[in-house]
């Protein structure tokens, strides 16, 4: 029982990290129609900037601010310099260009920081763990990550549903041409949305940096799962991204935690392990296939 609760928390934490990445990706995809493979690179930029500043200043919070700034600025530069030229072109060109961006970001990071991974500690007040239940200490920092993720979800909900800019974003996601025809400054909106997406990706990177090792290519690992979230949730829908991210985070964690064990009940050890690990790494893709079978546009499709 304790194991189950701990794994649920782990799933939730993975889920909110995916949400931070997917929220930006789904907006960019939905509003501008651009497939941005380099979204993971912005996650890496946030993590590197935050970690480097945290090492120099000794303060996690200074790192947090610099990580957010760096990723937002990187986002704006990418939007103005590259993305702008891609809106009118087909998806293959976009994939090619943003894939090139991944390579450029990765190699630039190697040039600046080298191949050695960076490392920071969790901030002092979140060091250690909280006794959630008797016999279940859970790292305070991971609880903090969950709290930040949920707070961002609420903030995004308010931004998108209660503000003027949110209204434009929603309108842009469901009918781009009409928004443009109504005389909205679509270029400015695009830049703002891209910067916001980059900022959220950077936040995910900053949050993950004390847990995982900060290294070149860290974004490439998580971006695949993020795309799955976007597809399951429905392109352009932040609500869909949230639901899909939490679902997928939980599902993936549960599969990895319990499937090998369950298989061990019915077959010998090593084979059960191998099969369990194999099946659970397929799990999220199977889930995507099933969802698409029932709802080809994802759970909460934004396009009309």
């Amino acid at each position: 029982m304790i194991l189950l609760i701990e794994q649920l928390l782990n799933g939730l934490q993975y889920g909110v990290t995916l949400f931070l990445l997917a929220a930006g990706l789904t907006l960019i995809f939905g509003i501008m129609g651009v497939i941005n493979l380099a979204h993971g690179a912005l996650y890496m930029v946030g993590a590197f900037a935050a970690t480097w500043v945290a090492i120099q200043t000794g303060s996690f919070w200074a790192g947090l601010v610099s990580g957010l700034l760096a990723s937002a600025i990187a986002g704006i530069v990418v939007e103005l310099g590259v993305m702008r030229r891609l809106y009118a072109r087909d998806h293959l060109d976009q994939v090619l260009a943003t894939f090139a961006l991944i390579l450029i970001f990765n190699q630039s990071t190697v040039l600046i920081f080298g191949r050695q991974p960076l490392f920071t500690s969790v901030p002092e007040i979140f060091a250690g763990s909280v006794q959630i239940l008797p016999g279940l200490p859970y790292p305070t920092y991971r609880l903090f990550v969950i709290a930040v993720g949920l707070a961002v979800a609420v903030g995004l909900y308010l931004l998108i549903n209660k503000t003027r800019i949110g209204m434009l974003v929603r309108a842009g996601a469901s009918n781009r041409q009409m928004v443009r025809a109504l005389g909205v400054n679509i270029q400015g909106l695009y830049t703002a949305v891209f910067a916001l997406g980059a900022l959220l990706a950077g936040l995910a990177g900053v949050m993950a940096s004390p847990i995982v090792s900060v290294q070149v290519g860290m974004g490439d690992e998580i971006i695949l799962a993020t795309f799955v979230v976007v597809v399951i949730g429905g392109v352009g829908s932040v609500k869909g991204a949230f639901v899909a991210a939490i679902l997928l985070g939980m599902f993936d964690t549960m599969l990895r935690a319990f499937l090998p064990r369950m298989l061990q009940e019915i077959m010998p050890g090593p084979e059960a392990q191998a099969l369990g690990v194999g099946l659970s790494s397929m799990g999220i893709y199977l889930m995507m296939a099933l969802v698409l079978l029932v709802r080809p546009r994802g759970l909460f499709a934004a396009h009309g």
């Binding site: 194991l3 191949r115 969790v122 090792s213 090998p260």
Partner: protein
Amino acid sequence: MKRLLTSASLLVALAMPGFAEGTKIGVITTLSGPAGYLGEQIRNGLDLGLKASGASYELIVEDDGRDPNTGVQIADRMLNEEGIKLLTGIVFSNVSGAVVPETLDAGAIYVSPNAAPSPLAGEKCHPNYFVVSWQNDSLHEASGAAAKKLGYTTAVALAPNYQAGKDAIAGFAREFGGEVTEIYTGVEQSDFAGEMAQIRDKAPQVVFQFHPGGQGIAFLKQYQQAGLLGTVPMVLSEPSYDAVILKAVGPAAVGITGTTHWNDDFDNEASKAMVAAWATAFPETPLTTYGQQAYDTGLLIGSALNKAGGDGDVAALQAAIKAAEFTSTRGSFAFGPNQHPVQDWYLTAIEADAAGNPKIVTKEKIREAVGDVYAANCKM
């Protein structure tokens, strides 16, 4: 037109063997991605070792990105287009499993500075395939022996789900002899929260884990954050606590038991010379066992190139490598019947230095002159 012709003939001249600086050695290694620093260690170690041997050589370095397909493409180009006869450098067993057969089929020689998967150590052993590091299993058998010696009887063993991970758990379990719960992780996994929960649930006497490169850093950090570091002791093989990982993890690593075939406090001339050369050439990066293995590989290849006079006669070069006439930085070194090393293994402790940072201290020899279990199946 005239200028074009001149530059063309210059290019041709450069490509002619007579103009080359020394024997070309193909280095296929992992320079990008989370494990990129491992390839960097290997490339730099090879270069320093070859330099120390005084041989005339030229390194052709290519990045495999930890991808077997990329590795095979590079090998193909090196072997068939550039006419290279000697390859080395691979970090990961999945890459070497694909590249080594390709190299041997082409009649070239492969000398491994790191990966040594079990399939290539037994029945598929080959006269042109040499391993300078260790066989994958024996690397982890030392950890099994150490855990047993410390009196533990139940263990949780974790490793990524690929050939070297399977070899790791098999090797550990073989010498440990106690009850082992196996957990396989993803090859690119970086968050181990689920595994931490499983370890807590199992409550073993000792944890053994094999996660090279960035994965090892993440694992150790999260082990500490989950509050397990003080409660469940950990025994590691050298790739899971190399100097770079320790530098990244910091004081949290103090108290972990490790096993290794070499450490920077070894008291022999070759090792001291290497540590000094590395500190001069790369003051920013700590020397790890990857660098050391590559340095030994460089010494071996260099000694063979000197003896055979380059790679003109591949059979002579093969015989010169087999003779292993070099002074290893690890002290005793010999090739077993399958051309994998026969060597000693040491127990190490991770202690705090004056500044409180972790450093690896060699304690005692736990296995002497051991080869690997697959050597018996090798008929050459």
